[in-house]
């Protein structure tokens, strides 16, 4: 089955098994393994991407559902070697350990801060409650979110 998806601004095509998830197609057909495969059933948020601007778990979206639509992944956050302020803050705050949850969390935090530039701690916790991290205990992730928010507000 041929699917055509606009990924990070560029139309891409792949011939895929009809049961494939968007996540599998991104990772295995389109060379974009930044979205991670931690649970593949929508529990961990490590595959978070935007589908037509909406935050989704790419593992729960069939590739066919994404046909003709626009997907933005962690690889599309910046177009060059620079880091997005959220990425920068994750590194600075020590919010990265094994890093497997990190791309999904970065995407979720960018999504949060794009809609709510000054979230309260409760709002951050709620917004990130669908992203599992096994390493950090989340404290430094919270630090990173507030650091990024502060820097992005200027």
């Amino acid at each position: 089955m041929l699917v055509r998806v606009k990924v990070n601004g560029e139309w891409r095509e792949a011939d895929v098994w009809p049961g494939s998830s968007l996540l599998f197609v991104l990772r295995e057909h389109l060379g974009l393994p930044g979205s991670k495969n931690a649970c593949e059933q929508g529990e961990c948020g490590s595959c978070s991407v935007w589908l037509d601007g909406e935050l989704v778990c790419a593992c729960l979206v069939l590739a066919a559902q994404a046909h003709g639509r626009e997907v933005r992944t962690v690889e599309g956050l910046t177009s060059d070697d620079r880091l997005h302020p959220v990425q920068e803050a994750f590194v600075d705050a020590g919010a990265v350990q094994c890093g497997f949850c990190t791309p999904g969390l970065v995407v979720a935090v960018v999504d949060l801060l794009e809609t709510n530039p000054s979230p309260t701690e409760a709002e951050v916790r709620e917004a990130l409650s669908g992203n599992l991290c096994r390493c950090t205990g989340y404290q430094k992730i919270l630090d990173a979110v507030f650091l990024a928010a502060e820097r992005m507000r200027g």
């Binding site: 098994w17 049961g19 990772r27 295995e28 060379g31 974009l32 393994p33 930044g34 979205s35 991670k36 495969n37 931690a38 649970c39 593949e40 059933q41 529990e43 961990c44 490590s46 992944t73 962690v74 690889e75 956050l77 910046t78 880091l83 990425q87 920068e88 994750f90 590194v91 600075d92 020590g94 990265v96 350990q97 094994c98 890093g99 497997f100 949850c101 990190t102 791309p103 970065v106 409760a122 951050v124 916790r125 709620e126 990130l128 409650s129 669908g130 992203n131 599992l132 991290c133 096994r134 390493c135 950090t136 205990g137 989340y138 404290q139 430094k140 992730i141 919270l142």
Partner: protein, 799 residues
């Protein structure tokens, strides 16, 4: 002539430098095991036994072989070499051939062009099983007539520690029985790797693991290849926590790759991951603690059972640890401890963060609270009165040589300000998100809330124990970079699993060599073993190896300088900021002496330890790290819901090489401990895992985790590199005990089993009662692991 280590280097030891792998990780550009890809690669899939105990009557692979896209279907009969593997004893079939001993045991392998083809082909393998009686209870496994998991019986190891006078008299005795559930490491990155057949008939394996060289020791004999033809390369590791210390997909992928002549990728899904790695041992603990009226511990009697599951893994060393730590970080002049690890037809258990000390701390800390209550003493005061310090004698007779700031740790968590009550609105109501269970879980308005505070202390060995001569290897090369500045290259096989060892070794190299530019080579088996990323050992061992190699490089540099500059004779030569210093004054750029690069390879060995003697006495552990925790919880007594309000954790770190990363370990370890206290347990039904998903096996979310107030006590440990102790495990050891102590304080309930369930908190279930007063001691030839007595030679010693 003395060469002092340079003390000055930007971004060196003691600074919270950014992780060396941070940028690729935030960009999604870091290549984990499951991200690997090769032209023309196949996907491997494992067929696993549905039965906890069965005889394999027949296997028919013809239909699977004929399925679309399939390149290979392999059974045990296709294995060219040894048919078994094992971390410490090779007792586990690579693929089962005559019988299976746990539900989830691998039986057959498939390689196909698409993972879905491989999965569907595996469904077409016809295995006829004859189910056999299974033993799935650790006490039943020790009863006469129980089904035998192995021909030599159901005892993995029985450890007996006798110290002082076991029948010592005490004024007050408290008694307790405790259980801990089977926790899973649940690293977010699944088991994954890529095996690529090589032209020399060997194989290159790119894999997410904790210990490349011990994997190779187990892989090569199965493939029938010499070790040098099996080259391992570390892929990105998405967390480990012990789960990757045993081999999972490594041998399978290599077998398929060599059989098909094509690269083979294997990447477990989440469900398979729960079946594909070892777990934390469930434990049952009987304990009697005696003290004088004025609160001095006199004696501890302890019976410790752990369920090792179907194969040995690291169970012999987990029970040794559990037994040696059973009394807690307290001076106990008289102790009698018996620990038994048993085989059952449950999934194999092995290494997980805390390694036996977690289960022990849950019991000894509950006993301390019971005793405090009995004596009318403050629980922290009782701990302070009995805390070990440098020079204390442990129940094994081992004297604590290093730092042991247990009192300082306890005092720090006690002195931390208590969290304020939640603010309320004009109607006296709290923001519902602050209620136990949160907005979604709590249907009340906080009517039945009770707050409780609990304390715990605990400790853990750093490094491997029991006489194992453990080591790590580092190769360091100092040369001139293209910009003419000195650049250090560091090559070790240390597995970066998220803990930050790669950043630590770069910091060490900067500090010792006084250069800022450090290039880290990817870890592989082309350099000597670094040992495992476990036992809180890498900072000490690989940090030590890198330090030693850097010192050797420095020595050569200084020798060159002395030869080139006779005028410096008599001066003390050091290096800082890329400059050669004579008596602290810069005299020449280091670059001047690097016409030829300098290279050195060094091993670091820790001080020797001993095995247990017949009475369980010995200098068993290298050294120790301690922690104390205070938990503040709120319990909704009507709904049985819990909110941990705050954890305060003080940890003895020796010296923090990278304070921010150390805090990260304390915080993350606390989260894993909180998970064990409140939610994490693999549910077994007749040996079968029933909750192998993140829907059913819950790990703490950001809504479950409270702020962690971490405090690092830095008293440099004598005799170890930079005085730094390992930091990964202690918070996981103390957090569960502290959380449950706080729950007991809030509810008045006994709560002797973790994870604590809502039913336990409202009185619908628990406390658990022992099935027998004190399990009898099994007959064993001695203190060593039983597999050793029956001729299963050790592959690699552990501890």
């Amino acid at each position: 002539m003395s060469e002092r280590v340079a003390e000055r280097a930007r971004l060196g030891v003691g600074e919270s430098v950014r992780r060396v792998d941070g940028v690729p990780k935030v960009k999604g550009a870091f290549a984990y095991g499951s991200d690997l890809w090769a032209e023309g690669m196949l996907w491997g899939h494992t067929l696993r036994s549905p039965h906890p105990s069965a005889r394999i009557v027949s296997v028919d692979i013809s239909e699977a072989l004929a399925a679309p896209g399939v390149h290979a279907v392999l059974l045990a009969s296709d294995i060219p070499g040894r048919k078994t593997f094992g971390l410490d004893y090779p007792d586990q079939p690579v693929l089962a051939w005559d019988r299976v001993r746990y539900a989830g045991e691998p039986v057959a392998l498939v390689a196909a062009e698409h993972p879905e083809q491989a999965r569907r082909a595996a469904e077409r393998i016809r295995v006829v099983y004859e189910p056999l009686p299974a033993v799935t209870d650790m006490e039943e496994a020790l009863e006469p007539g129980a089904p035998q998991v192995h021909e030599f019986g159901n005892v993995v190891r029985h450890v007996r520690i006798v110290h002082g006078h076991p029948d010592a008299r005490a004024d007050v005795w408290v008694e307790g029985y405790y259980e801990t559930g089977m926790q899973d490491q649940a690293p977010l990155g699944p088991e994954a790797g890529l095996a690529v057949p090589a032209e020399d008939g060997g194989v290159d394996l790119y894999v997410a693991t904790q210990w490349l060289h011990v994997d190779r020791q187990q892989i090569a004999p199965v493939l029938g290849l010499p070790e040098e033809k099996v080259r391992l390369h570390l892929a990105g590791v998405g967390g480990a926590f012990g789960s990757r210390e045993d081999v999972h997909m490594q041998i399978h992928a290599c077998l398929l790759a060599l059989h098909t002549g094509k690269p083979v990728k294997m990447s477990y899904g989440r469900e398979e991951s729960f079946f594909g790695h070892v777990h934390r041992h469930p434990a049952r603990i009987w304990m009697r603690t005696g003290a004088t009226r004025d609160g001095r511990l006199v004696a501890v009697r302890c019976r410790f059972l752990i369920d090792g599951g179907a194969y040995t893994s690291s169970s012999p060393f987990v029970i040794a640890n559990a037994s040696t730590f059973a009394c807690g970080p307290y001076e106990v002049p008289n102790a009698f401890i018996e620990g038994t690890a048993v085989y059952t037809n449950n999934p194999p258990c092995g290494a997980m963060r805390g390694f036996g000390a977690v289960q022990a701390a849950f019991a000894h800390e509950a006993q301390m609270d019971k005793l405090a209550r009995e004596l009318g003493l403050d629980p922290v005061e009782l701990r302070l009165r009995n805390a070990v310090g440098t020079g204390s004698v442990l129940p094994t007779g081992q004297v604590i040589r290093g730092t042991a700031p247990v009192r300082e740790l306890l005092e720090r968590v006690r002195a931390a300000p208590l969290p304020q009550p939640e603010p309320v609105d004009a109607r006296g109501r709290r923001d519902p998100i602050t209620l136990p269970g949160g907005v979604a879980g709590n249907v009340g308005r906080g009517e039945g809330l009770r707050r409780g505070v609990g304390y715990a202390a605990g400790y853990k060995n750093v490094g491997y124990s029991e006489g194992f001569d453990d080591y790590s290897t580092a190769r360091v090369r100092l040369s001139l970079g293209s910009d003419g500045r000195p650049v250090a290259e560091v090559h070790t096989a240390a597995a970066e699993v998220g803990q930050g060892v790669h950043t630590v070794v770069v910091q060490v190299a900067r500090t010792v060599l006084g250069v800022e530019d450090v290039v880290l080579h990817p870890p592989d088996t082309l350099v000597g073993s670094a040992g495992s990323s476990s036992a809180s050992r890498q900072t000490m061992m690989t940090g030590g190896a890198v330090e030693a190699a850097c010192r050797a490089v420095l020595e050569e540099l200084v020798a060159r300088a002395r030869q080139a500059r006779p005028d410096l004779e008599g001066a003390e030569l050091t290096v800082a900021d890329g400059e050669l210093m004579a008596d602290g004054v810069p005299v020449a750029p280091v670059a001047e002496f690097l016409g030829e690069p300098i290279e050195a390879t060094r091993e670091y060995h820790h001080r020797p330890t001993t095995t247990f003697d017949e009475e369980g006495q010995g200098d068993i552990h290298v050294t120790f790290t301690f922690a104390a925790a205070r938990a503040v919880v709120e319990v909704d007594e009507e709904l049985g819901l819990v909110r941990v309000v705050e954890l305060a954790v003080a940890q003895d770190v020796g010296r923090a090489i990278n304070p921010q990363m150390v805090e990260g370990q304390v915080e993350g370890g606390s989260a894993m401990g909180l998970g064990l206290a409140l939610m994490e347990e693999l549910q077994l039904d007749g040996g079968r895992i029933r909750n192998a998903s993140f829907t059913d096996y819950l790990i703490p979310t950001i809504l479950d985790m409270p702020p962690v107030r971490s405090s690092l006590v830095e008293e440099p440990e004598p005799g170890v590199p930079f005085g730094a102790k390992g930091v990964g495990e202690p918070s996981t050891i103390v957090a569960p005990a502290a959380v449950v102590a706080a729950l007991r304080a809030a509810t008045g309930r006994e709560l002797n089993r973790i994870p604590v369930r809502p039913d336990d908190l409202v009185g619908l279930s628990g406390p658990v009662r022992p099935r027998q007063p004190w399990p009898p001691s099994p007959r064993v030839p001695g203190q060593r692991p039983v597999p050793e007595y029956v001729g299963l030679g050790a592959v690699a010693r552990h501890g």
